[in-house]
């Protein structure tokens, strides 16, 4: 069950079926619940997360109807109603769907509801669905029908019959009025309906009568479902009366589209990370051009520069009928600050340069150093594509000098050295013989056994050697099972 803090006590906000059968209800304090059953499984309630999930689920229900909306959990706090006579729980989250004209697509109202509840069951939700002519009736029937039924369809003009057996709270009138009605012996909606309407208004006010009318469909001003509006896709489209063929025309069209799209991006507070330009030819084929930027960007001039280089790649064929430009990947950005000084301008022009080079040569070609906490030199530092690079806190300077050029992979060298562990005296690299004069080492670097990847690497003994001409090299001897152990050149020092 879920618990949340309400009025400085931890109260239960939701229980599962087993807990409900055992007698726990939302509104009990956690302390009481624990006293009854010490081994309770409790998790903290997350209303914000629930709201988000509900919104997503409401969007998922868009497969059944274009107009859907999520309803927050029911109004009454279960805690407040604890003192009143026990009212059947009708809480829980809800989703509204306006199914006008949608049910025939699923083979009828019953089939649609069956499909919906089954799919929701597969998603892991226990759901109850009700379809009625008025929102009030549907709400009441969905929340207050007995558990065993997973969906109910109220036939047209059958609202009165459907509502009569339901308890009074199913009208959504609030616990105070429901308690009042209970006190007068009016437990079901049918009892209330039996009373004359005029006296209802006099005794209980307009709310009850308005709710009844809305539920029965007498009130023409029905409560509308305020649906989620689908987000307008960030795209712009330009169609031509005559097919265009030259690169200049395409460039002009692209500039126009970029202006429109960037305005839309600005209104939405977004910046583009990836843009796709699609050109449609009269025979139905398309040509597509995708550019990406390192940072979210909505400057039409900069984006046009990135397109300009690649526009010649578009094969115009018999001409181009229509061009669309869509932001397939966008991120929210803050409004651009201008005039903060040359530092920001320089950083922006560096971004622009990186974008230009990355779009021309490929995103893998522009790289930044990545430092990792590792002993193995080839892992400790390397160049990774700039989209993946984030400078970790690993310190760049290692305690021992490292070569300014690292060979990937290390090259085998023939060496004359003392066995089994001695330093090298002579070595041949790329057919040139080097005589070692000065040598520092060994520095033992072992493979990292704690990493999951199995590597063939063995323990390495590194030597920093200098030859008679002054060349400085980083040699190592690897222990990988061969005898005698092989020598490799890993890098050149400055």
């Amino acid at each position: 069950m879920l618990a949340a803090e309400q009025r400085a006590r931890l109260q239960i906000t939701a229980v599962n079926r087993a807990a409900e059968r055992a007698g726990f209800r939302p509104g009990m304090t956690l302390a009481d619940a624990r006293a009854i059953l010490p081994g309770l499984a409790v998790r903290p309630a997350d209303p914000a997360g629930d709201a988000k999930a509900l919104a997503r689920l409401a969007r998922w229900c868009g497969r059944y109807s274009p107009l859907t909306s999520a309803e927050e959990t029911s109004d009454s706090y279960p805690g407040e109603a604890l003192d009143a006579p026990r009212i059947e729980a009708g809480g829980g989250a809800g989703i509204w769907l306006d199914s006008t004209g949608c049910d025939h697509l699923f083979g009828g109202e019953e089939a649609m509801l069956t499909d919906m509840t089954e799919r929701l069951g597969e998603l892991g939700f226990s759901a109850r669905a009700a379809l009625a002519g008025t929102p009030g009736c549907a709400w009441a029937v969905a929340r207050y029908t007995p558990d065993r039924v997973s969906w109910v369809v109220v036939p047209p003009a059958g609202e009165r019959d459907a509502l009569s057996p339901l308890p009074v709270t199913a009208l959504g009138i609030g616990p105070a009025m429901a308690a009042e009605l209970h006190g007068l012996g009016l437990k079901r909606i049918g009892d209330v309906l039996a009373l004359p309407r005029a006296s209802l208004a006099a005794r209980f006010g307009e709310t009850l009568r308005a709710r009844l009318d809305a539920a029965l469909g007498k009130n023409a001003a029905a409560e509308p479902v305020s649906p989620f509006l689908p987000e307008a896709p960030l795209a712009a489209r330009l169609a031509f009366a005559e097919p265009i063929g030259t690169v200049d025309d395409i460039a002009a069209a692209t500039q126009h589209l970029l202006k429109t799209l960037c305005q839309r991006l600005e209104r939405a507070g977004q910046g583009a990370r990836q843009l796709a330009l699609t050109a449609f030819r009269p025979d139905g084929s398309t040509a597509r051009l995708v550019i990406g930027t390192g940072r979210a960007n909505r400057d039409p001039d900069r984006l046009f520069l990135l397109f300009a280089e690649r526009l010649a790649e578009i094969d115009t064929g018999f001409g181009i009928d229509e061009i669309t430009l869509a932001a397939i990947h966008h991120e929210s950005t803050s409004p651009a600050q201008t005039g903060l000084g040359s530092e920001r301008a320089r950083a922006e022009s560096l971004d622009a340069l990186i974008d230009l080079l990355a779009n021309r040569l490929g995103p893998q070609t522009v790289r930044r150093p990545a430092l990792r906490e590792s002993h193995l030199p080839e892992r400790a530092a390397g160049l990774v594509p700039s989209s993946e690079a984030s400078l970790s806190s690993a310190d760049a300077r290692s305690p021992n000098p490292r070569p300014v050029r690292l060979l990937r992979p290390p090259e085998p060298v023939e060496t004359v050295s003392e066995e089994p562990d001695g330093p090298p005296h002579l070595f041949r690299w790329r057919r040139v013989l080097h005589r070692v004069i000065l040598c520092e080492g060994p520095e033992r670097i072992a493979p990292e056994w704690w990493r999951e990847e199995k590597t063939e690497a063995g323990i390495r003994d590194y030597f920093r050697v200098e030859d008679d001409g002054g060349g400085r090299f980083w040699l190592y001897r690897e222990d990988c099972g061969e005898v005698p152990r092989p020598w490799f050149l890993h890098g050149l020092f400055g």
Partner: protein
């Protein structure tokens, strides 16, 4: 020329005194100097302060008193095994320009040229290039590298650019020099051993060779290599004299210095064992 060409009898006599001593002559000379200066402007950036290399003796010999930003430099190793030395020297030069400005360093790698591995960021950090200011471009051929350098110069974003290219024609080097002068960004070309030595419009051309290191203290006792030493041969310096220096990189100061003369190790060991 608005004046008429003088007729033969009005040509000046052989004892022509020269522009300095004629009344309007000084102005004409000054104007002529300005014109030549404007023509040369493409080859030498005006109004920029020289960046000191850090070694007083070398700086004194350089025409501007140091390294000029916004000009083209060229570094090549003297032998294949000196690739590391050339790279390290290139890194120290680039670090000097990075110190004076706050841009990034764009290093255009070209495996076909370097043939000695990839640059290793922690070692570059030792020579003064912080990893967060380094952007590397993995190019495949010279044309890509030169085009990338030109784009970077045009954008003006980096503080310095290192490009590894094998063949750079005179025209290409002139274009780079002009673009560098306009934007103030310094391109440094790192060429491999064995590239054709064509003439170039670079401001300075260096040839770097590894020199034996001078170990001191513990390193001397244990026969370990000392600090990196290079024999840097400035064989072409526009507007200045060439020179040849043996320099040493000192880790403790993060600076270059002229290397002490090499002691004769063999003579020493012979003397000590005798």
């Amino acid at each position: 020329m608005t004046r008429d060409i003088p007729s033969p009898e009005r040509l000046p006599s052989p004892s022509f005194q020269g522009p300095k001593n004629t009344p309007g002559g000084k102005d004409r000379l000054a104007a002529l100097r300005r014109r030549v200066g404007r023509i040369e402007q493409g080859f030498r950036p005006q109004g920029t302060r020289a960046v000191p290399l850090g070694v007083q003796e070398i700086d004194a010999r350089l025409p501007a008193g140091g390294l000029l930003p916004g000009a083209l430099y060229e570094i090549a190793p003297a032998a294949p095994r000196d690739a590391g030395a050339a790279t390290a020297f290139c890194a120290t030069l680039a670090a000097r320009f990075l110190k004076e400005s706050d841009g990034a360093l764009l290093w255009c790698l070209n495996p076909a040229v370097a043939d000695a591995g990839e640059i290793y960021p922690p070692a570059l950090a030792r020579f003064g290039i912080a990893p967060d200011r380094l952007v590397a471009l993995c190019a495949r051929d010279d044309a890509t590298v030169l085009q990338a350098i030109e784009d970077a110069l045009a954008s003006g974003a980096p503080a310095a650019i290192v490009g590894e290219a094998r063949d750079v024609s005179l025209t290409a080097s002139r274009r780079l020099q002009l673009a560098a002068g306009k934007s103030g960004v310094t391109p440094i070309l790192l060429r491999p051993y064995g590239a054709e030595q064509t003439s170039s419009a670079a401001l300075m051309r260096w040839r770097v060779e590894s020199a034996p290191s001078r170990p001191r203290g513990w390193a001397a006792m244990l026969d370990e290599p000392g600090f990196p030493c290079w024999q840097a041969n400035l064989f072409r310096s526009r507007g200045g004299a060439p020179g040849n220096w043996t320099m040493e990189w000192r880790d403790e100061t993060g600076d270059l210095a002229l290397a002490a003369p090499l002691r004769d190790r063999q003579a020493e060991t012979a003397a000590s064992t005798a």
